[in-house]
């Protein structure tokens, strides 16, 4: 080591040459660092302001597109109504000819309530359940037919045969006029029957009314009552089977 140089402003422990050695060995990287100088106080350059202003503008537009700030009540925009798809027509249920629409509804009722006994082909089994295909009571006046469906039947059928002591249970419970109209129309026009007419919802409403006003309301009908009191068609305007209706509620489709 070289002799310590006497420098008044250095601490005794600092030996210049030794320091230089240590610096080079241990702190070379730190020694050559520049210091973080005085911070610049240049004014903010003008060209920076332009993009900042554009950003502020865009953010303002974004905020403007929203609404209902700080109200946590609604998860949808105020006054939102679904827009129509551009170029698309009214996408409601497609209207169908009345016969098809009523039959479609009736088909569901049939498989739920009727086919279990009368068979999925509505031909019965010859001993316990009568055939509905070709049946006089099915294809005849609609009031008679509706009374059977709503209230059930006791005793002989149109062919005179008795199918089971208990007869047919009532099926009218919980049946809406649309359901009734559907099942009546379905059975008269499908699976081999082809009467060609539609039992409308209004007619079905009348049927429910008549059924409720029966003298023996709540009990099954029998052949005598049917012959005596229910020999007509249900009251109501006839509907051309080709008329377009909406499948859901069987209402006439709005004119285009």
């Amino acid at each position: 080591m070289s002799e310590p140089l006497n420098k008044p402003d250095l601490e005794d422990s600092i030996n210049v040459a030794e320091t230089h050695d240590r610096l080079v060995r241990q702190a070379a990287a730190a020694a050559r660092e520049k210091s973080l100088g005085e911070n610049g106080s240049q004014p903010i350059a003008l060209w920076i302001f332009l993009p900042l202003a554009v950003v502020l503008l865009v953010a303002g537009l974004v905020l403007g597109a929203g609404s209902g700030y700080f109200s946590y009540g609604s998860t949808f925009r105020e006054g939102y109504v679904r827009a129509k798809a551009p170029g698309e027509e009214n996408s409601g249920p497609q209207p169908k000819p009345a016969l098809a629409a009523y039959s479609a509804k009736g088909a569901k009722i049939f498989s739920a309530k009727c086919s279990g006994c009368h068979g999925s082909d509505a031909k019965g089994d010859g001993a316990n359940y009568p055939a509905l295909i070709g049946s006089e009571w099915v294809l005849g006046p609609t009031e008679r037919f509706s009374m059977i469906v709503l209230n059930g039947l006791h005793g002989p059928t149109s062919t005179g045969k008795v199918f089971g002591a208990a007869g047919m249970p009532a099926q009218g419970g919980g049946m809406t006029p649309e359901d009734l109209a559907g099942i009546l129309t379905y059975l008269r026009n499908n699976l081999g029957n082809s009467k060609g007419d539609v039992v409308t919802v209004d007619m079905a409403k009348a049927a429910l009314d008549i059924s409720g006003k029966r003298k023996s309301a709540g009990k099954q009908v029998d052949a005598d009552e049917l012959k005596a009191e229910h020999t007509k068609d249900l009251p109501g305007d006839k509907l051309d089977p080709a008329t377009l209706v909406l499948p859901g509620n069987l209402a006439p489709a709005p004119a285009k």
């Binding site: 702190a27 070379a28 730190a30 920076i48 974004v62 597109a65 609404s67 925009r77």
Partner: protein, 498 residues
């Protein structure tokens, strides 16, 4: 900030060097294990991208299923690489700026190991099929408390250092870094409590998850990157920050704006209707601090002259990162317009590209700059090979640029296809296909670049770097000779043999 010290420059250098040496174990650990996780994450990313192109690739294994590999890739990138690089930068920068040596490097190192263990268990948990299904939070729930505790043990010392620092003046980097260290646990605890502990509404849970992801990007990685850049650029270039008031404005706009961002990911979902709009607006407004920081530092750097920039690896990477920040800010504005681009890009590759632009295009590049600066100071060795650094730089820039462009532009294309409701779905998928191929290729480039980097860093960690007092400079620094004009000054000294 002028050096407020009564030390002579020599003593000051020795003080700084002793601060560096006190932190050598934790810092090198974070950087090296971070780089290892980066390589792992990119391998997983290559596999995931390849599976988008060719779904039957490696279909044999349940662990490599796309739905597991992709979250593993993202989580390894965020918690394995991103967080650890951030920790290394935070503890070193805070110590230097507070001019105090680290008092508990052993604790930090142990906590770092704990963090690594937790992340490893988490990634293995995802790959084995125990992920939680929450984007960026797929680690099984037992991992989160471990991460939180390890995190506290790592950064509490830095906050203490800042609190007890001598002198009153503070440099802008300290505000950014202190902010990041406080925001991160607040955000993490919120997400953990509201998503894993307390029962809540399922859609709002998805919203909070989206907020968490945005908060990690904008309130942890972004400020750490910004704070580091504010240190590195003036330090290496020797020019002071162009406008210090703009720097402070940049910090406070970040603090006020960024916490509102994130919910725009859930636009159209049944959450309170204004939340996505506020999120979109806040993300757009993030461009304000982004442009402010980038503009401030780029003007500072260019004042130093293109020579300095070309020669310094640190400056090169940091400036590339700042350009990445500009691109990220631009993406923030362009991708989040609710009436036009947001419905298009909401469910496309754009989200991935956006995340990568912030995480890799900005944050990772600045971290590379920091690593190239810090490691020689901490290990007393200089980088071994100019070529390795240059290769790392070029391949990374190309790769990330390609990914950003592909994912942003490709995402728009994909989104346009998705919104064409009268076309069959295959249309939208077809539009994205070429971008999936390009992404895979870009990740391969990045993988190579990072293998070089990891190799280089490991050699430094093993103390096999150059013993020299002259830094390794690129592009003909020191007149083409890395040993400097006087020849190499062996910093181990003529009598030393370690």
């Amino acid at each position: 900030m002028s050096q407020q010290t009564s030390n002579s420059p020599a003593q000051d250098a020795l003080l700084r060097a002793s601060i560096d040496r006190s932190l050598r174990h934790p810092v090198m650990f974070f950087f090296t294990s971070g780089a290892a996780w980066l390589a792992v994450s990119i391998v997983l990313g290559v596999i995931a991208s390849a599976k988008v192109v060719s779904p039957n690739f490696l279909a044999c294994s349940s662990w490599l299923n796309y739905g597991r590999v992709f979250p593993a890739h993202v989580n390894a990138l965020v918690y394995g690489w991103g967080a650890q690089a951030a920790f290394g930068a935070i503890i070193w920068l805070m110590a230097r700026l507070s001019r105090r040596a680290c008092c508990a490097p052993g604790v930090i190192l142990a906590a770092g190991h704990a963090w690594n263990l937790a992340v490893s268990l988490g990634v293995l948990g995802i790959l084995s099929g125990h992920g939680t299904g929450m984007p960026w939070m797929e680690f099984p729930s037992f991992v989160w408390p471990a991460l939180f505790l390890a995190y506290t043990a790592i950064v509490i010392w830095s906050l203490v250092q800042m609190r007890v620092r001598p002198g009153v003046s503070t440099y802008i980097s300290q505000w950014f870094l202190a902010g990041a260290t406080i925001w991160f646990p607040w955000v993490l605890l919120t997400a953990f409590a509201l998503l894993h502990c307390l029962p809540g509404h399922p859609v709002m849970a998805a919203g909070i998850n989206a907020w968490y992801k945005s908060a990690l990007l904008l309130l942890f990685f972004a400020p750490v990157g910004m704070g580091t850049a504010y240190y590195l650029v003036p330090k290496v270039s020797g020019t002071p920050v162009q406008s210090y008031s703009l720097a402070k404005v940049g910090f406070w706009t970040l603090a006020v704006i960024a916490p509102w961002a994130g919910m725009q990911k859930l636009a159209g979902a049944p959450i309170p209707v204004w939340l996505p709009y506020v999120g979109a607006a806040a993300t757009v407004l993030f461009a304000l601090p982004a442009f402010a920081v980038a503009g401030n530092l780029l003007t500072t750097a260019f004042k130093a002259g293109s020579d300095t920039i070309a020669h310094s690896p640190t400056l090169r990477f940091t400036i590339a990162g700042l350009f990445g920040l500009v691109a990220f800010g631009l993406a923030c504005v362009v991708l989040n317009l609710p009436e036009s681009t947001l419905p298009l890009t909401q469910f496309t590759l754009s989200g991935y590209g956006f995340d990568l632009l912030g995480l890799y295009g900005f944050f990772t590049f600045v971290m590379f700059g920091a690593i190239y600066f810090i490691v020689p100071r901490v290990t007393l060795r200089e980088w071994l090979s100019r070529r390795l650094i240059t290769t790392h730089f070029i391949l990374s820039v190309y790769g990330v640029g390609a990914i950003a462009f592909v994912a942003l532009f490709g995402g728009l294309q994909q989104g346009i296809g998705q919104e064409q409701f009268s076309m069959p779905w295959e249309n939208a998928a077809d539009r994205a296909y070429p971008y999936a191929i390009a992404t895979t290729i870009a990740w391969c480039f990045i993988l190579f670049s990072n293998l070089f980097f990891f190799l280089h860093l490991t050699l430094m960690w093993l103390r096999l770097g150059r013993r020299s007092s002259h830094p390794t400079l690129l592009d003909g620094g020191h007149g083409g000779n890395p040993h400097g004009p006087e020849g190499d000054i062996d910093n181990a000294g003529p009598l030393h043999s370690h």
